[in-house]
């Protein structure tokens, strides 16, 4: 698989500032733990923990893919897929935390939890609550930089995120090449404070450095929302009209809104998106989207649940694993018109059967902080 970009992430050196911050937390974090949870040594394992996935909503195809992975993992254990507990936060950090606590109370902490905490600040209380109850948690996406699994012994099993900056830069390069290296582009982003939204915009900016003749006309958050993206795009068309020669979107759902806005105007300019949803992959195949980036949510959903589950059963001991196995990047696969059909056949039409115990095989190296 040529597009399987395994090692495009440049390992940067930990900046001095972050190193200091991290070690400072190491001290206060230990103090905090005394307050909030059992000490790591006492972590008990559970024979048959409840497996739960906590995520944003069911209206976004991305989360559906995540869930399908979680369900596939549960089925691989010989259970019915109904055995997976769903906690949906509807975009509310408050509900996210409350549901987790309710689950911990209900199962007396015998829980293997996979979660996206909706907002980075929410990650700490969630992890603390799970650790205090003696459960096991693996997180994805949202986490503040000062929070690390290894500060919680075994209970905070792992954190996986996707380094979006590089893939977003790659899609940007594809876009910029397609418009011939000159003209203007606009960016429609996600919810402005979300980490992926920030990284994906940064990727575009990085790429632009090499294209002095291309101007970033405007960047506005479209909150991951198709309808909002649609309206913002039509306003962009009014403001910049023919100056827009390409559109960089922070995810597929934004891309759909942009495509429809262009369609209403009878315009046809190149766009690139992110996430690699089936619908977007089809559009890539048709050539209406130049590129999207597949983050393999199915695998991510399965392996995150698997990590928490196997740590909870004691199959492996997280605290004995190196840091690169506790905080790591998920896989990213570029999807372009040339390989879209291949890709679709391999990943979407026949979902591969993954070895859920190969936790780190497809992953992409330890998370680096700037």
């Amino acid at each position: 698989m040529s597009t399987f970009i395994k090692d495009f992430i440049e390992r940067e050196k930990v900046s001095r500032r972050n190193f200091l911050l991290a070690s400072a937390y190491g001290i206060s974090g230990a103090a905090a733990l005394k307050m909030f949870g059992p000490s790591p040594v006492q972590a008990a394992t559970h024979d048959d923990p409840a497996i739960a996935w906590s995520y944003r909503n069911r209206t976004n195809p991305y989360w559906n893919e995540i869930v399908s992975g979680g369900e596939a993992f549960v089925e691989s254990l010989g259970k019915s897929k109904d055995a997976l507990v769903h906690l949906i936060n509807e975009g509310s950090s408050e509900k996210s935390l409350a549901d987790v606590k309710a689950l911990m109370a209900k199962e007396s902490g015998k829980v293997a939890l996979a979660i996206d905490t909706n907002d980075a600040p929410n990650c700490r209380p969630v992890v603390e609550a799970v650790a205090a109850a003696g459960g096991y948690v693996s997180t994805i996406w949202n986490k503040t930089d000062d929070l690390h699994p290894w500060d919680f012994g075994d209970n905070y099993v792992s954190h996986m995120t996707w380094s979006d900056e590089k893939p977003a830069e790659q899609t940007a390069r594809i876009l910029l090449d397609a418009i011939g290296g000159k003209g203007g582009v606009v960016h429609l982003g996600g919810i402005a404070s979300n980490n992926p939204a920030i990284e994906r915009l940064q990727g575009l900016k990085n790429a632009l450095k090499d294209y002095p003749d291309v101007e970033l006309l405007d960047a506005q958050p479209a909150d991951w929302d198709t309808q909002k993206a649609n309206q913002i795009m039509s306003s962009f068309i009014t403001r910049y009209g023919d100056e827009i020669s390409g559109v960089h979107c922070a995810n597929d759902t934004i891309g759909y809104g942009v495509l429809e806005a262009l369609r209403a105007e009878g315009m046809d300019i190149p766009i690139v998106t992110y996430d690699g949803n089936p619908q977007a992959v089809d559009l890539v195949r048709e050539g209406r989207i130049l590129a999207t980036v597949f983050t393999n949510p199915h695998w991510g959903g399965g392996v995150t649940a698997s990590l928490a589950y196997h740590a909870a059963t004691g199959a492996f001991k997280p605290s004995e694993e190196p840091n690169e196995h506790r905080e790591f990047y998920g896989p990213t696969i570029m999807v372009t018109p040339q390989d879209a059909a291949d890709f679709k056949a391999k990943y979407l039409e026949n979902v591969p059967t993954y070895d859920w115990k190969d936790f780190w095989g497809p992953s992409n190296g330890q998370i680096q902080y700037k």
Binding site: T59, S235, G257
Partner: protein, 321 residues
């Protein structure tokens, strides 16, 4: 005839004046705002919201409120899309039956809302809020979270085919607006909304079956939400649980900004048209003139308050809540 410039007249026309002032303001800052193409863009963005706002206008005229629109729109959109695809996937086949089906679904949800409100005497605010949750939940149950694409070129011609620079969906919306105006001013039901808004107890003692009128009003509103749902699907070609998102506050804000009073009895669908345009002109204009994202919300908020202040006749209102 030189006394048309009275205070009362000014207040009555204030929403329209606000709209014109906003257009002039944005056009002055960014001349490209003032173009037929952009007018069409604003019109496209406005149509689904206009339909939803018209629906809730009837309810607000009665002095009630309806917060169920987000759920209703989602349910209608999703059922429409499923039926449309199941029946052939193009308007040229029996799939056109999905259009009346969506209207029926809207009417059914609205009627359910109205009946619970009337029969169990639950204030409309609470009842419709809960029905909204049920609606969104039901849409989610149906889709399981997936989005349904409606790709039929014929159906999408709502957006893609233009006539005098405006896509067909804008004319559909205008036709519905005229229909709504007709219901409002030339039918018994429409006039009864005003009677209830003007004095519910008096209307009851005049022999009006207020409960029935209320239930019908919610049903009618539901049908307009369904039209809104169809246009929303027509605009982006996707039906999903999130299709109804954001309609609640936008539509009610638009109704109030247009000069229809929340306490009932005053206003109408033309006011709502102006209100929807004000809100969408602001949204479009702020991006067009390049206002930084983080101030856009505040500007919208302040302009909304200003518009309401200008169109309220403080002499005739004792107090507001």
């Amino acid at each position: 005839m030189n006394n048309w410039l009275t205070r009362d007249n000014l207040i009555r026309w204030a929403p329209l004046l606000v709209l014109l002032a906003l257009i002039c303001l944005f056009a002055l800052i960014e001349p490209r705002f003032f173009s037929v193409r952009n007018a069409a863009r604003i019109a496209i963005a406005s149509t689904p919201a206009l339909m939803v706002a018209i629906g809730v206008t009837f309810i607000i005229i009665m002095g009630s409120i309806d917060l169920s629109m987000e759920g209703t729109v989602s349910v209608c959109a999703v059922i429409f899309a499923f039926a449309f695809i199941a029946l052939g996937g193009t308007l040229a086949s029996f799939a056109w039956l999905a259009l009346p089906l969506a209207l029926l679904v809207g009417a059914a949800v609205g009627l359910l809302n109205g009946l619970i409100h009337v029969r169990f005497k639950i204030p409309s605010f609470m009842c419709s809020l809960a029905i909204g949750f049920v609606g969104t939940g039901f849409a989610l149950l149906l889709t399981g979270g997936d989005r349904v694409r409606v790709e039929d070129e014929l159906f999408r011609s709502l957006l893609t085919i233009r006539f005098l620079n405006f896509p067909i969906m804008v004319y559909v919306a205008l036709a519905c607006l005229v229909l709504a105006w007709f219901i409002q001013s030339h039918t018994k039901l429409g006039r009864n909304f005003y009677a209830i808004g003007g004095g519910e107890e008096l209307a009851t003692s005049s022999g009006l079956n207020v409960g029935r009128v209320r239930a019908l009003a919610f049903m009618l509103a539901g049908m307009f939400y369904a039209i809104g749902a169809l246009l929303a699907v027509g605009r982006i070609g996707i039906a999903e649980t999130a299709t109804g998102n954001n309609f609640m506050f936008v539509s009610i804000t638009a109704v109030v900004v247009g000069g229809t009073a929340l306490w009932g009895g005053i206003g109408g669908v033309w006011n709502t048209l102006v209100g929807v345009l004000i809100v969408n002109v602001i949204n479009n204009g702020m991006v067009v003139i390049g206002l930084p994202n983080f101030v856009q919300d505040a500007v919208l908020g302040i302009l909304v308050i200003t518009a309401v202040v200008l169109s309220t006749n403080r002499k005739t209102v004792a107090f507001v809540k």
